[in-house]
């Protein structure tokens, strides 16, 4: 198949970017989206043009490092699919595809489609953990955890930290990402001791990073490759209010 690509090119954070047009004549529909970009890059290098920089690593949908806007949608048109798991058979011969980085004030563009998501790390760092040192753990089966609790904690823990939720949100809110971690840990008995401190710190950090406020549009859930539910946000708000009141 033939494709016309419009790709965001920006050499560095200091330089303003622009869309550039490229054409690919022989795209195999079995290719993944990122393999299509590999082929484009080989072609660009032959023409002496700087290849397109984009983020990726595992290419199997689990590391969370890939992620671009494809025709205005984070990770492209398929539901619950990361950019690396998207295949070209989803597109039509002759189609024009717009490829841009995830956009958010808190995710500065580093180069072309590569962005800086370190804000997510700082949110986790502010409290997204259980304080237990190596050596302190009790016997694993000393606490029983009912299957529904363990399973629903898992649903939240499945987040891959890709940032699509932020890119999908008109307010660039990081509520889905932050709430997923808060919920994962708050649901488990091990995580309850620190639940109050955790939610207060993580929400404060989320705000400090310059993410917008959540207005419940639910665009994040629709874009999330891991099907993280907006109910996590409700849980976060509940945990936050509870912690706030308890503190007073």
């Amino acid at each position: 198949m033939r494709l016309r690509l419009k790709i965001w090119r920006q050499e560095s954070n200091e330089i303003t970017g622009r869309m550039e047009s490229y054409e690919l004549k022989e795209v195999n529909e079995e290719m993944s989206f990122l393999e299509m970009l590999d082929v484009l890059n080989e072609q660009l290098m032959q023409q002496g043009i700087r290849p397109v920089e984009f983020d990726h690593d595992c290419r199997e949908g689990i590391c969370g490092q890939c992620g671009v806007m494809i025709n205005g949608e984070p990770h492209g048109p398929l539901q619950n699919t990361t950019t690396c798991q998207l295949h070209m058979r989803t597109f039509r011969d002759g189609e024009e595809i717009y490829i841009e980085p995830f956009r958010a004030l808190a995710f500065p563009v580093k180069c072309d489609l590569k962005i800086d998501r370190s804000a997510f790390d700082r949110i986790i760092q502010s409290g997204g953990f259980i304080s237990v040192d190596t050596g302190q753990a009790p016997e694993a089966n000393s606490t029983r955890i009912p299957v529904p609790v363990a399973e629903s904690a898992f649903d939240s823990a499945a987040c891959i930290g890709c940032g699509a939720c932020v890119a999908a949100c008109k307010n660039t809110s990081a509520a889905l990402f932050t709430s997923a971690k808060i919920t994962h840990l708050a649901k488990l008995p091990q995580g309850k001791t620190e639940a109050q401190e955790r939610v207060l710190h993580m929400v404060a950090q989320m705000d400090a990073e310059g993410f917008g406020h959540c207005t419940n549009t639910e665009a994040c859930e629709a874009a999330c490759p891991q099907e993280i539910s907006v109910l996590n946000i409700a849980r976060m708000n509940w945990e936050f209010n509870k912690a706030h009141i308890m503190r007073k």
Partner: protein, 636 residues
């Protein structure tokens, strides 16, 4: 020269004896000690977090944009531990024996025993961190059986065990970053090791966002940089996985052991075209219900469902009636390759075999199969657009795990004092073949429970050393070397990008130093790799002058692979026997099974770098079996 430092005494007492006699560093002195940890996978995050908790000053590096993306994240199946929760007769000794036997008796008894001994602690640690392992309805932890052992000792978190374990370790790491004990630099690639007066004292790294070359000094350096299976180009590893960190350490004097022992996983998705960049693993658990077959007729063009039962060759069931489709990975992969090479492969590139669920579906019902493997069938459909409930899957073998790696002693220290290697980067515990679900365990155990003790034994003598001065000439020289190499790669300005060479290297290694090897094949592979290396340095193209430059990063890794690949061939050529994943065509029984030679090859082959134009130098560490008698693996 190779002193394994295995403590005296009975097997079950060795580790306890070691722990009670090793030197310690007083808590007040720990903050005077700097430690560099390269890698944030399970091994790297675990050791950096544990050292931070103890009060050491740690600097941690990874090449991804956050620590949580290290390739440990991709492990699906599970992690082994002998808790004996199932009351099915598991014990430390049994787990030790299974692992030693699975590795075809090519690993150290004491190391393997310690791995099994520490396994139970890991589950406690992970659960305390909030890892949501699978549970039974009573709320207790559940287990499954995995990789052909007779007990259920595998803990799992859906099909995402690696992700969940890594998030636990990552969160522990970030807690230490927050506490100021660990300084984390993401998007930094280690390009050189600095050795001063024979001790590892620092690294040179490249900041992949600014292009800056940085020096970092420390009293000890830990490499937890994962496996190098990506050397085969097509593999189940991530795109950035590399052998560079261990290779640069090798060129500074660290020995590499058994580098050619690569596990080739039998159930990955086949390559579909030249453009393909990686192979996706389908969990091994599928072999519990799937039957593997190829058509009896060569080059059969009919769609699988039109090939009648009597015209199918269920070759694993035919050759290994006792284990059938559940034979260990090395045997299943080799049998697939044998059929594919003989012209019975299926699919457009004739490079695959069928994995068929029709029998299981007719016996158990589609619902049951969906319950067990729904997510895998979905993933298969996402990638191939084929519905595996109605048509068999196509699978093929893919490079997956490096049993070889930096040689380490019982303390996980390499042959360079102060340099440690943890996780998949070392060679230690899996022998010639790794058992499923044992490597997440090994990475975690190395990082949480072993290195924190063994490193103290070395660091106790460093409390008066004072900060390492990065103005030392050794840093100067190492930095210059890195700059020279980067400059050189950029100035060749030839015709082909790094991937072009990497693909060819991968092909050479897969064909001649992969599932089966022979002396003539390996000899020609060595010549071909040398030739390819020459061409690389004449024809490489790297875009010049950009700070963020994925092509430059790849070129550096491929340059190292082109040397490491040659060493793998030397290693395979030297070992005139078949064992585990290493199958030499000359050494097989009349019916095609591996022929091990304990009399001559019961040793670890540790190689020393002698310069690019000289063959490597072999050091042998003999293996002693005091507590078990090596037996012959048979799955017939």
């Amino acid at each position: 020269m190779l002193e394994s430092k295995i403590p005296e005494g009975p097997l079950e007492e060795k580790w306890n004896y070691y722990k009670s006699h090793t030197k310690l560093v007083n808590p007040a002195n720990r903050k005077k000690i700097d430690i560099i940890v390269v890698g944030t996978g399970l091994a790297g995050s675990a050791i950096a977090a544990s050292l931070g908790e103890m009060g050491y000053r740690v600097k941690s590096f990874c090449f991804q944009d956050t620590a949580r993306r290290a390739h440990s994240v991709a492990a699906q199946g599970g992690v082994n531990a002998c808790k004996n929760y199932k009351n099915d007769g598991d014990s430390v000794f049994r787990m030790f024996y299974d692992t030693l036997k699975g590795g075809d008796f090519r690993s150290r008894e004491a190391n393997v025993y310690r791995l099994a001994e520490c396994s139970a602690n890991l589950i406690d640690r992970a659960v305390a961190q909030g890892v949501p392992f699978g549970r039974e309805y009573g709320g207790y932890l559940n287990n499954r059986s995995f990789g052909g052992v007779q007990v259920s000792r595998t803990f799992y978190a859906r099909g995402q065990t690696g992700q969940q374990l890594l998030l636990g370790a990552y969160q522990a790491l970030m807690r230490q970053v927050h506490a100021g004990h660990v300084q984390l630099s993401t998007r930094h690639e280690m390009l050189e090791l600095v050795v001063i007066d024979g001790k590892a004292r620092g690294v040179i790294v490249r900041n992949m966002e600014t292009g800056a070359i940085e020096r970092h000094g420390a009293h000890a350096v830990v490499l937890a940089t994962g496996g190098f299976g990506k050397i085969y180009f097509l593999s189940t590893l991530a795109m950035g996985c590399n052998g560079s960190a261990i290779w640069r350490a090798h060129k500074k004097g660290a020995l590499i052991a058994n580098p050619s022992w690569t596990q080739i996983h039998p159930t990955s998705l086949p390559q579909s075209g030249e453009y393909q960049s990686k192979l996706t693993l389908m969990s091994e658990s599928l072999r519990n219900d799937g039957r593997i077959w190829v058509p009896k007729k060569q080059d059969d063009q009919r769609p699988p469902n039109q090939i009648p039962e009597e015209e199918r060759d269920y070759y694993l069931e035919r050759r290994y009636p006792a284990f059938g489709n559940l034979t260990p990975r090395d045997i299943a992969s080799r049998a697939a390759k044998e059929r594919i090479d003989a012209g019975y492969g299926i699919g457009p590139l004739k490079n695959a075999v069928y994995l068929d669920f029709s029998k299981a579906i007719s016996e158990q019902g589609e619902e049951k199969i969906r319950e067990k493997y729904g997510n895998l069938f979905r993933m298969y459909q996402k990638i191939t657009n084929v519905n595996a409930y109605t048509e068999p899957m196509r699978i093929s073998p893919a490079a997956h795990f490096s049993m070889g790696g930096l040689w380490v002693d019982y303390e996980l220290m390499t042959s360079i004092p102060g340099l440690y290697a943890l996780g998949e980067a070392n060679f230690a515990d899996h022998g010639a073949n790794r058992l499923g679900a044992n490597s997440l365990l090994q990475a975690c155990v190395d990082g949480y429970f072993i290195a924190p003790y063994t490193m103290a034994n070395f660091l106790a003598d460093e409390i008066r050393t004072g900060p390492i001065d990065t103005r030392h000439p050794a840093f100067e020289a190492a930095e210059e070397q890195v700059r020279d190499q980067l400059r050189m790669l950029e100035t060749i300005q030839g015709k082909h990008p790094a991937d072009y060479f990497h693909r060819q290297l991968g092909r050479i290694l897969y064909d001649r130093c992969g599932l089966s090897r022979s002396a003539p094949g390996l000899e020609s592979a060595i010549t071909d790799i040398q030739q390819l290396r020459k061409e690389f340095y004449k024809q490489l193209y790297v875009p010049r002058g950009f700070a963020i430059n994925a092509e430059l990063e790849k070129a550096g890794r491929v340059a190292d692979y082109l040397e490491l690949g040659e060493l793998m061939c030397h290693d395979a050529l030297n070992r005139n026997e078949s064992c585990g994943a290493h199958f030499r065509e000359e050494y097989q029984t009349p019916d095609g099974e591996a022929l091990r030679n304990d009399a001559d090859f019961s040793f670890i082959a540790a190689w020393e770098w002698q310069g690019a134009n000289n063959p490597p130098l072999l050091h042998k560490e003999p293996l002693h079996f005091e507590f078990v008698t090596p037996s012959v693996r048979s799955y017939k």
